[in-house]
Amino acid sequence: MSASTVAFSEAQLAEVRRLQALYPDARAALLPVLHMAQETFGHISLEAEEYVAGLFDVTPAHVHEVVTFYTLFFRQPKGRHVVAVCHNLSCHLAGAPEIIAHVMRRLGIGVGATTDDGRVTLQAVECLCACEHAPMMQVDDRYEFGLTPEKVDQILEGLR
């Protein structure tokens, strides 16, 4: 990605200023702006970190420290869809290991990897707090509940 492609539109810059004004200290808008950056650029590259740092009174190192701390920020290109299967206790008791193994077989990739066609990134994640519907997973913005191999197949089919 060339440097010139890492830039917000005028409307987005206005949104950055609006977010910064919501807080007693503008730097508190860093997480919301990083969410915006990821939605816009697909992932948060070192260039994107520098760009975002320039919108705040912070160093690129500070932004890097923040980006690397949180699991929802991707530093490498991710798939068009992110499938995050919960593997914490309640989901484990409901068969999460088998569900994860099934997704791996279906996608032909391991946990943490992205399919060659860039369609799906697979993750095993800690508790998503929907244990009453275990085993469950998050697909992009959506929670998917009560997973069975058949239901997983249906969901994966729907991801383009």
């Binding site: 919501l22 807080y23 007693p24 200290d25 730097r27 508190a28 808008a29 860093l30 997480l31 919301p32 990083l34 969410h35 705040f56 912070v58 500070h62 420290e65 923040v66 701390f69 949180y70 699991t71 929802l72 920020f73 593997h87 914490n88 206790l89 309640s90 484990h92 008791l93 800690e126 508790c127 998503l128 707090c129 929907a130 244990c131 009453e132 519907h133 275990a134 998050q138 913005d141 959506r142 929670y143």
Partner: protein
């Protein structure tokens, strides 16, 4: 003891998240009443109600509010912890999605009590739908004039980190930093978000406040035990017939939660163990469930009410395997700030894992217990103590199961891994 539903009373209405539904069921009348009360009187009412924090620590809410310095002249902030992440807990997700105005009304009242002009609601990043629902409700509350007249609400999204549920970690994250907890004192009520006095309360805690104002502290206190008032929402999961979120008196017993609310044990039908308050709570054996599930009842039972995430395990569940999953979680989520936590959570996970995988060694259990005990109480926040609870209790209460795996490993080790491979994996 089948308590009247307070927090969940509207959950079966399809439109329960809307302002109209909230107003139709008495919404914002407590806020009207609270506007006629002096701030100190509101705090006193909440104190008398015996409302205790429902996010995990169980601290008396009114007492917490009273810690804000009386003579403070600058801003005071109200921060709502909606960073629900304690494994086995899902109640705040329901409140944000199905009754967001209860939280907004509770915030208005709490903000009056502590004289706060601004409230921040920190919602975990994975909770996209709860965030949308709650943000829509905030929009409605602005349009209707409840917000924006002396009190503003900012909805803030996290980005994936369990430690941000710890109140000072949450404050760091809210300030735009990595979510490292801060050394206390100063406590947030003295110096919190943006250096100002800050009260951090859980979603469910604040959603109770309108009921206390409407119906009085004495009534609320009478719903619970001597030291904790009201109802709370139990998240019931694991090997039960009806997993789900259930509102009941804090005085209900763990047995009734499992048998009556959860519909009894699945698997082979016989209870082996239960985690009563989210994964950081010490595990209880099947013969330890005739205790009330309030903060002090479970503390006396050697565990904690925590976030009231009740995880049920039947006899077919392997306790060492369960501990491996739990230990993996703490290893992953340790923020890395304090050495005992950063190092121990990683090494203990590796040791429990090698026991489960048949590579355990004779001294492993005592080493884990020793490391766990030495680190407890030595770190900045309660995260490591929350990991130590399961490490010690799973091993002490189910030691024979761990030992059987370790003894089995000795016999298998002769036949299976080649020496070099064994060294590499150990």
């Amino acid at each position: 003891m089948t308590a009247e539903k307070l927090l969940t009373r509207n959950f079966d209405r399809a439109d329960s998240h809307t302002l109209r539904a909230y107003l139709e069921t008495g919404g914002y009348t407590a806020w009207q009443k609270a506007q006629t009360l002096e701030p100190a009187a509101i705090t006193e009412e909440v104190k008398q109600s015996n409302l205790r924090g429902l996010g995990g620590a169980g601290f008396p809410t009114g007492t917490k509010w009273s810690f804000v310095p009386k003579n403070h002249t600058g801003p005071v902030y109200l921060v709502i912890n909606a960073d629900e992440g304690e494994p086995g807990t899902f109640k705040d997700r329901y409140l944000l999605e199905r009754d967001p105005h209860a939280l907004i009304e509770g915030m208005l009242i709490a903000a009056r009590a502590i004289r706060s002009p601004t409230g921040f609601v920190y919602i975990r990043g994975e909770y996209v739908e709860p965030w949308r629902r709650f943000s829509a409700a905030v929009g409605e509350a602005y349009d209707a004039g409840y917000l924006g007249r002396g009190f503003d609400v900012v909805v803030h999204r996290g980005a994936g980190a369990y430690i941000c549920g710890e109140e000072t970690g949450l404050i760091s994250s809210l300030e735009g930093k990595k979510g490292w907890p801060k050394l206390k004192p100063p406590f947030p009520a003295i110096k919190g978000a943006f250096g100002a006095p800050t009260i951090v309360n859980n979603v469910e805690t604040i959603a109770h406040v309108p009921h206390i104002i409407n119906r009085g502290a004495a009534w609320f206190a009478s719903l619970g035990t001597k030291t904790q008032g009201g109802t709370r929402m139990y998240s019931v999961s694991g090997r039960v017939t009806r997993p789900g979120v259930y509102e009941a008196s804090v005085a209900i017993t763990l047995r009734r939660i499992i048998e009556d609310l959860g519909g009894g044990v699945t698997g082979n039908g016989r209870l082996k163990a239960v985690v009563p308050g989210g994964s950081s709570a010490a595990i209880l054996r099947a013969d330890e469930i005739d205790v009330t599930a309030d903060v002090d009842g479970l503390r006396n039972a050697g565990t904690m009410a925590g976030s009231a995430g009740v995880i049920v395990m039947d006899e077919t569940v392997s306790i060492p395997e369960a501990l491996m999953v739990v230990a993996r979680f703490y290893a992953h989520e340790s923020c890395g700030q304090c050495t005992p936590c950063r190092e121990s959570t990683g090494w203990i996970y590796k040791m429990v894992r090698r026991i489960v995988e048949g590579r355990g060694q004779k001294d492993d259990l005592d080493t884990i217990l020793d490391v766990a005990r030495r680190g407890a109480g030595t770190t900045i926040c309660a995260f490591y103590d929350g990991a130590v609870g399961p490490y010690i209790s799973y091993i002490e209460k189910f030691r024979a199961e761990f030992e059987a795996l370790i003894e089995g490993a000795g016999t298998r080790a002769v036949a299976t891994p080649a020496p070099r491979e064994a060294i590499a994996r150990a």
